[in-house]
């Protein structure tokens, strides 16, 4: 454990140094993996498969926000399917539009889940996302997860349909279309997966928000166990036996991955250094604000017989309680002054 903590501290210092460059680089690799997965699974159009194009697009995505990356990925998918069958490509676009308008529009900050979900499915560890989002996010992320699962199964079906079109003549386009819709309608595995992921997310979220010791660890463990159990029941009822081994191993790997991410997130998330600039009458300020780190030096307690025991912990707790009291006071202050703030708006309007 100690060596892990040391590693964490080191990673934090490195991260603080390279923070400015880290985000575009991460986005670049995310886009690269995404485009490569798309090309390898349904790369029908060879123009988009060439390495310079993929690299160029990834580079482009590195400096653009995630939604643009998703739009580019959707456009590439459209062109790939357009190359094989026009009707399929139109269907793909329509489904993307429906997904966006009805669901993804409400959770714009979690658009990356839509992209990550199919990739995790291909890597056989789709269980990472529901457990992770249960631990770090709110239940509203059920929406993007559901969309992601749907997207994966939909693309898989469209891929099968595209293979059929090769042998079919042009007149049979309607057949391809009905094949896709029929398979979507009868796909019980998809509905099962969506339901189970929702359950897993809710359970991890509920346990994580309880005020108990090791809430995070228990939540992750519970997520993994519930995931395996419910999937086993569901798979046995649907007679899908060949996936049980990958399910158990995938779930365990997912649990470990989530634990690792959670371990680093607890500090990494808060060590995001802020660069801000502002000015007053006399100076320009270029400020680099580094959040304070939690020091993990073990504390020694000295116990003296017949004397009152004072440990560092008890002092800390007192301070904590005090701070919390003050925080509460602040909040009350906010509410009582709320009217005053409303006056500000009126002032603005008068001007």
């Amino acid at each position: 454990m100690m060596s892990l903590l040391v590693l964490k501290e080191r990673l934090i210092t490195i991260y603080q140094k390279i923070d400015v460059y880290a985000k575009p680089v991460i986005r670049f690799f995310m886009a690269l993996v995404l485009f490569m997965v798309i090309n390898s699974s349904y790369g029908y159009d060879s123009r988009f498969k060439s390495i310079p194009v993929v690299l160029l697009l990834s580079l482009f995505c590195a400096f653009l926000p995630i939604p643009i990356m998703i739009i580019i990925a959707a456009a590439i998918s459209f062109f790939h399917f357009y190359f094989v069958s026009k009707i399929l490509s139109i269907l793909v676009v329509v489904v993307f539009l429906i997904l966006y308008l009805l669901f993804a529009r409400f959770t714009p900050k979690q658009g990356y889940v839509l992209v990550l979900m199919p990739i995790c499915f291909i890597l056989n560890i789709p269980y990472v996302l529901p457990i992770l989002l249960g631990v770090i996010a709110t239940p509203i992320s059920i929406i993007p997860v559901t969309c992601g699962v749907f997207l994966y199964f939909f693309i898989a079906i469209v891929k099968q349909a595209a293979q059929i079109t090769v042998t079919l003549s042009v007149e049979d386009t309607l057949q391809v279309y009905t094949y896709v819709i029929d398979s979507l309608k009868s796909n019980k595995e998809m509905i099962l997966t969506i339901a189970i992921f929702a359950i897993v997310m809710l359970i991890t979220y509920i346990i994580r928000t309880r005020k108990i010791d090791h809430a995070f660890d228990i939540a992750i463990a519970a997520g993994v166990v519930v995931n395996i159990l419910v999937f086993l029941i569901g798979d046995l009822r649907l007679d899908i036996q060949d996936k049980i081994v990958t399910l158990v191993i995938g779930s365990l790997i997912s649990g470990v991955l989530v634990y690792v991410i959670q371990f680093f997130r607890l500090t990494l998330d808060y060590t995001a250094v802020e660069y801000v600039q502002f000015q007053d009458d006399d100076y320009y300020y270029y400020v680099k604000a580094v959040p304070k780190m939690k020091i993990t030096v073990p504390q020694k307690n000295i116990t003296k017989i017949n004397e009152k025991k004072v440990t560092a912990d008890s002092v800390n707790i007192k301070e904590l309680v005090k701070n919390e009291l003050y925080d509460d006071y602040d909040d009350q202050d906010d509410i009582s002054n709320y009217d005053e703030f409303d006056e500000y708006i009126d002032e603005d309007k008068k001007r």
Binding site: V94, F106, F278, Y285, F341
Partner: protein, 134 residues
């Protein structure tokens, strides 16, 4: 002379302005009812468009059947059913929109209020400085 406390305050304000502040300030230009109305319009438009798209997908899927029985279909019954589903969908989405965006608006206002409080403190700093000069 550099005033550390003032720099700390200004840094806090600048960090807020850089992150959540941008959206909060945008929201602060609306009254709550106006903001909700705007979001409701957006929701109605998007739900209508996507419902039409779903209808298109279903109609094309059933096109063989529809063309075959084009004469004997009970269009009134189909129409009421389609309209009924649309209204149910719309009501669910409107409810979600109103609840969700009210919450968003209120929490943004609370953050903005803290920001204003800090701004007030900063103004106090300036006043004190002016008084010292006099």
């Amino acid at each position: 002379m550099l005033d550390n406390n003032k720099i700390k305050l200004m840094t806090k304000l600048a960090i807020y302005e850089k992150n959540e502040g941008q959206e909060d300030v945008k929201l602060s230009k609306y009254y709550k009812t106006d903001f909700l109305r705007y979001q409701i319009i957006k929701t109605v438009v998007s739900v209508t468009i996507s419902y039409l798209l779903v209808l298109l997908v279903v109609a094309f899927y059933r096109s063989e059947y529809l063309i075959q029985k084009a004469v004997e279909l009970d269009y009134k019954a189909i129409g009421t059913k389609v309209l009924g589903i649309y209204i149910i969908l719309l009501v669910i989405y409107l409810f979600g929109t109103i609840v969700g965006y009210s919450f968003k608006f209120d929490s943004s206002r609370k953050r903005l209020f803290k920001y204003r409080k800090n701004l007030k403190k900063l103004r106090q700093y300036y006043r004190n400085e002016e008084n010292e000069l006099k």
